[in-house]
């Protein structure tokens, strides 16, 4: 999976949780999920679990804690979906 596809899926997963819709009109890798998009921090767990379902991955606590921006989410997903060598 390429990063553009992953980014699109991440955006669509996060969309229902976004409160600041203006900031969501032009999302970038650097867009912060809690601070910029106004996502309730309690809902981050729901978002991470949705990533697990969508991409067939498992996310541990430490990886989840490191997801602050849309780009962080994409990078984490790409790492976990990359074929093992």
């Amino acid at each position: 999976m390429d990063s553009t596809t992953a980014f699109g899926k991440v955006v669509s997963i996060i969309k229902p949780f976004v409160k600041n819709t203006a900031a969501f009109s032009a999302p970038t890798d650097g867009t912060r999920i809690v601070e910029d998009l106004g996502v309730n921090s309690a809902r981050l767990v729901d978002i991470i679990l949705a990533f697990e379902d969508e991409f067939g991955i498992e996310v541990d606590d430490e990886s989840a804690d490191r997801v602050r921006t849309l780009g962080d989410a994409v990078q984490m997903i790409l790492r976990k979906t990359a074929p093992a060598h």
């Binding site: 309690a42 981050l44 767990v45 679990l49 498992e58 606590d61 804690d65």
Partner: protein, 238 residues
Amino acid sequence: MQEVVSQAFVLLTYHSLAAWMRCRRYRIPDLRSTRAEFAALVLERRGPLLVCANHLTLIDSLIIQWALAPGWRLFVRPDWFFWNLPDKYNMSVNPFLRVLGYFGKCVLVHRKGPPEEARRALDKVAFLMARGQSVLVFPEGGRSRVGRVETTNFMYGVGRMLQETPTARVVCVFARGLGQREYSNFPRRGETFFVRMERLAPTTAFHGMRADRDLATQIVRHLSAMEQEYLENTILDR
């Protein structure tokens, strides 16, 4: 250290706060039978309790502690003197509250802080419960803005606590002033409180964050069911 100091001063702390609540003419009908009911629920063995309650005012934890046990009980049974997890912001308003938080067994949580900070608070709770201490938590994660138990937008931290201390016994407590319409800082003066409690044994087939969510959901739904029963059976003091 905080555990030792707060336990040493428990009678002073408890009776000072109970006197303040009496000054505000707060009242719990059947206080004696409420305390007997709690004792019957948990006396069978020692060990950590995870007391889960609904949340509408800043002093819910005081009301619940007062309702469930007299001061002397907390003196002889430190595990009945619950740790609390108030928001760091609310407890930092003035020096008095900071001191009260220390003596009142509070683990301060920065609710809008980074995940690592929440994780540190949860680690501390796990440490305390491993030592047989009990914790009073509000699974909704804050005072309900809708005036009812919030069943759609709540925190999953209570599920993590239960996963980290599977031996903890869960007691759901529904407490609400008869005149309480929505969330507030304090209950009105002269308020009468309805208090009910039930044991719950949540289980899950999931693990990790999914289990956190599943366990927390079971607890919140149970509190909501207790609230529904209250609303159907209690004549509100309008």
